[in-house]
């Protein structure tokens, strides 16, 4: 035992020595170098996935209003970030977790990850987004639609109408045009699988996928490959001479294509098949064992407050959860509304997810 302690002491000494060295060398990787977590109740820590983003000015406004400074920790994609929280349950790294969606919600709730807190302003969020209404363990913050996107130029050149619905995708006119993500590893991939399950039901979705397969659907590992390498409508795809004009992406991808182009085009190069959408709802919650619960509560209020909600669309390219939030012009102009977004009950998702993904894999990937 004592040897272990000695080793530990040596290692700590080594680590500290290195930190000191680093400080001498001018290496300062942010404020955390000086403060451990929980160093004071003036810092509130938000744990999220890699896609989390917010304008610095908005965070500053929060600090001015409440006195709390926000520290953001990003750790991998949505699934990995949530799983890390589950592993560290009871001694969490932060106070608030943002980014659990309806496909993962039950996993988070079943593991007792969150404390109950009813955020101020919840009444301005539509009831159908409040999936944990009774207990308020999570607060809906935004929604996003996973939809098939199409390359406008391709369909204009071919004088072919772009597909609108899931049924259309199985039509011979769209043979060999669609690329989708692996439902086992990618969240848009899973979303699209759930869209088909929502549409055709437990008994029907496999038959539908068999049709898609016969119609030449291509499966790749993740969104990056599908969108940047295979989809002919994206900036990356054009450079890669991609040849698939249909891809599973987001309803907000067209405005992103406009916003991140220089000069900005007057029309988005891509469109959305509005009848193919699966609705994702993203939640935030106060972590069980949070060191700064008061700060965490203030942060949750802030996440559904006006400033943050208005900042969301152009930062994370999702829709604000709060009703009647003013949308930025470029987002409103180039974004498209899903006709009737499909959804599946979170409990059912948890129950069936693994089984669906397994049978999907053996059906489509082989």
């Amino acid at each position: 035992m004592s040897t272990i302690k000695r080793y530990a002491a040596t290692a700590i000494a080594a680590a500290l020595g290195v930190s000191a060295l680093a400080a001498c060398g001018g290496t300062d990787s942010g404020d955390s170098a000086k403060k451990g977590d929980g160093a004071g109740s003036k810092t509130v820590t938000l744990v999220s996935h890699d896609s989390f983003d917010v304008s610095p000015a908005v965070l500053k406004a929060f600090t001015q209003a409440t006195g709390y400074t926000v520290k953001v920790l990003k750790s991998g994609d949505a699934g990995a970030a949530l799983n890390q929280e589950i592993l560290t349950k009871g001694s969490p790294r932060g106070d608030v977790f943002f980014g659990v969606d309806n496909t993962l919600l039950s996993r988070a709730l079943d593991n007792g990850l969150f404390q109950s807190y009813e955020a101020k302003g919840l009444d301005r969020i539509p009831a159908d987004l409040q999936l944990d209404k009774g207990e308020h363990r999570v607060t809906p913050v935004d929604t996003g639609d996973i939809c098939v996107n199409y390359d406008k130029k391709y369909f204009a050149d071919k004088k072919l109408a772009p597909p609108k619905t899931l049924d259309d995708l199985a039509e011979p006119a769209y043979k060999d045009l669609l690329v989708v993500e692996d439902a086992a590893t990618s969240s848009p991939g899973l979303g699209f699988l759930l869209a088909t399950a929502g549409q055709y039901g437990d008994d029907g979705w496999q038959g539908y996928w068999q049709k898609l397969k016969d119609n030449g659907v291509k499966v790749v590992d993740g969104w990056e490959q599908a969108y940047n390498e295979e989809f002919s409508g994206s900036a990356g795809g054009k450079k890669a001479k991609a040849d698939r004009p249909l891809v599973v992406s987001y309803a907000s991808s067209p405005p992103v294509e406009v916003l991140y182009a220089d000069p900005r085009p007057t029309e988005a190069p891509t469109g959305v098949a509005t009848g193919t959408c699966f609705r994702q709802i993203e939640f935030a919650g106060l972590l069980d064992g949070a060191k700064n619960a008061a700060g965490g509560k203030a942060l949750l209020d802030f996440l559904i407050g006006k400033q943050f909600q208005e900042d969301l669309p152009l930062k994370m390219f999702v829709n604000p959860a709060v009703k009647d939030t003013k949308l930025p012009e470029v987002y409103a102009k180039f974004g498209e509304k899903a006709d009737k977004p499909l959804t599946v009950d979170p409990k059912k998702i948890t129950e069936k997810r693994e089984q669906w993904v397994k049978s999907w894999s053996s059906l489509v990937k082989k």
Partner: protein, 539 residues
């Protein structure tokens, strides 16, 4: 020895054992039954089979393509040789997120092969194999070529004078001297390809999966810790076996060889055959390594209105057309450099002490320790990262939200490189010099400073360069570790690629190019300060 042991115990063994233990233990009792259950699963069996055979095939293909290059680099003098040697090493330290897209540009649709012969290899096993060659080419060129260049050609000539044919002389004289280093290189390539993650994920498509990919899926996506634990154990066993074999071949290589200055063994190629060989090797390097890198660079300049520095300029502003980061992406370069410097210092301290300890002592236990230090190269990053999360969560060691965790994880991967570079040089230092210093009254520290340090300084620099480059490109562990909002270069590239839009894609390419250049420059500096008698450094 205490410091490196403590470092490994605390930052490697403990987290890994804890996460595996968490998986295998349920309700307080061990679930060894799970092992059989998981291994009996036909899907897992398929993964195991694919992992093994693709590693064997990748290793064979790498040897086939890289051994001629090892010979050419060792024996021939040609203009640009040093630059080329640095460039072929660049892929080895590049993160796979960057390379995947470049590689698809050559092998995929509309790529060079497609345009010339209509051959498309994306999402085929060939893409995986060739990418593995791309990544590991340098391992063979450097390990085998390094030794080859120091073998005295006169020994072979002597054999020929004595009447042996050209082939017989080579087989009898050069081959036996070379064989252990070929074996060592092959085993390293096998190790890297056996635990391949990014290449298989990006180029293989969803129908191929290695053990490492499966561990990632089970841990990060499904949170199926029992299955992940069993797979980790399987990978451990396999990697352990590879490392044991590797340690054995290294020991065999340390038999006395008469080594000479590489500058004396290389000369300009003579005759059509040798020129053809040189040409063939250069062509392979061009197509397999330079071309994907060039495509990457080309795309970083290829804006909507012709070539230009548009994307590079965009990197300087926080809101390059909308703002993917809180800080200008270019700051990721600075973050990366800072992390890499700290990681290099840690790796040098730990690896240097370990190498010193390994030099002083001998015996089975010490050799076991030698192999142990290599283990982080073969253990899945997600296992280590998740292990960190559940073990380093108690004060005073609650490092989970500390920036130091990133360099610590990077140093784990850097240490094996430091040890492997330092060890042969340290072993070559004559122990009697130290004794003489001690007799003359020098303290051990003074003896080390006056005797060892001057002799190993250059090796130390080489080791530092490798650790630095590896830390710079490290992606796997870094991405799983909580960190304040200052992304490293590879992480920034991955984030940019994760967004739609022309500007994001272009900036990702520009950042990748910067990463490449930084790697290439540090490797070139390495070439310059290479110890003149570097006794067959391993990498």
């Amino acid at each position: 020895m205490a410091v490196p042991l403590a470092f490994f115990a605390l930052f490697f063994a403990y987290p890994v054992v804890a996460i595996v233990g968490r998986g295998l233990k349920s309700g307080g009792s061990w679930q060894f039954g799970r092992i059989g259950e998981v291994l009996g699963d036909p899907d897992i069996g398929g993964v195991l089979w694919f992992t093994t055979w693709q590693a064997v095939a990748s290793t064979a293909l790498t040897l086939l393509l890289a051994l001629p290059a090892a010979y050419v680099f060792a024996r021939f003098d040609f203009p640009g040789k040093q630059l080329l040697r640095a460039v072929v090493t660049v892929p080895f330290v590049l993160p796979t997120v960057v390379v995947g897209s470049a590689f698809l540009a050559v092998l995929g649709r509309g790529g060079l092969l497609d345009e010339l012969w209509g051959v498309r290899l994306d999402t085929s096993v060939w893409a995986i194999l060739l990418a593995h060659v791309f990544f590991n080419y340098a391992v063979v060129v450097r390990t085998v070529g390094g030794l080859w260049s120091q073998l005295d050609p006169r020994q072979e000539e002597a054999a020929r004078v004595l009447g042996a044919g050209r082939f017989a002389a080579w087989r009898r004289v050069t081959l036996p001297a070379l064989a252990p280093s070929v074996a060592a290189a092959a085993l390293m390539v096998f190790l890297f390809t056996f635990t391949s993650f990014g290449v298989v994920q990006i180029l293989g498509g969803p129908s191929f999966s290695t053990l490492e990919v499966e561990i990632y899926r089970q841990t990060a996506q499904f949170l199926d810790l029992p299955t992940a634990a069993v797979l980790t154990l399987v990978q451990f066993a396999a990697v352990g076996a590879i490392l044991a074999l590797h340690a054995w071949t290294v020991r065999r290589r340390e038999s006395a060889l008469r080594l000479v200055d590489p500058a004396r063994t290389a000369r300009r190629p003579r005759g059509a055959g040798q020129w053809a060989l040189l040409g063939g090797v250069l062509a392979t390097v061009l197509v397999l390594i330079l071309l994907p890198l060039a495509v990457l660079i080309e795309r970083s300049f290829d804006g909507p209105d012709g070539y230009g520095f548009r994307y590079y300029r965009a990197l300087q502003s926080a809101d390059g057309g909308g703002g993917t980061f809180l800080v200008p992406p270019l700051e990721a370069v600075w973050n990366s450099l800072q992390y890499a410097i700290v990681a290099t210092l840690i790796a040098l301290a730990v690896g240097g002490l370990a190498a010193a300890a390994l030099t002083r002592r001998a015996g089975r236990l010490v050799r076991g320790f030698d192999a142990l230090l290599m283990l982080p190269l073969g253990v899945s990053a997600v296992t280590v990262g998740f292990g960190f999360l559940i073990t380093l969560n108690q004060p005073p060691l609650d490092l989970r939200t500390s920036w130091i965790l990133v360099p610590l994880a990077q140093a784990l991967v850097g240490v094996p490189f430091v040890v492997r570079t330092m060890l042969p040089v340290l072993r070559a230092v004559d122990g009697r010099l130290r004794e003489a210093a001690a007799v003359l009254g020098a303290s051990p520290l003074r003896a080390w400073r006056e005797v060892d340090l001057p002799m190993v300084r250059r090796a130390l620099l080489v080791a530092a360069g490798f650790a630095f480059a590896v830390s710079l490109g490290e992606f796997g562990a870094t991405v799983f570790i909580a960190r304040p909002d200052n992304p490293t270069l590879p992480v920034a590239v991955a984030r940019l690629l994760g967004r739609a839009g022309d500007l994001n894609y272009g900036q990702a390419m520009a950042l990748s190019t910067i990463l490449m250049v930084v790697c290439a420059v540090s490797l070139l500096v390495l070439e310059r300060i290479r110890p003149d008698r570097s006794v067959s450094g391993e990498f």
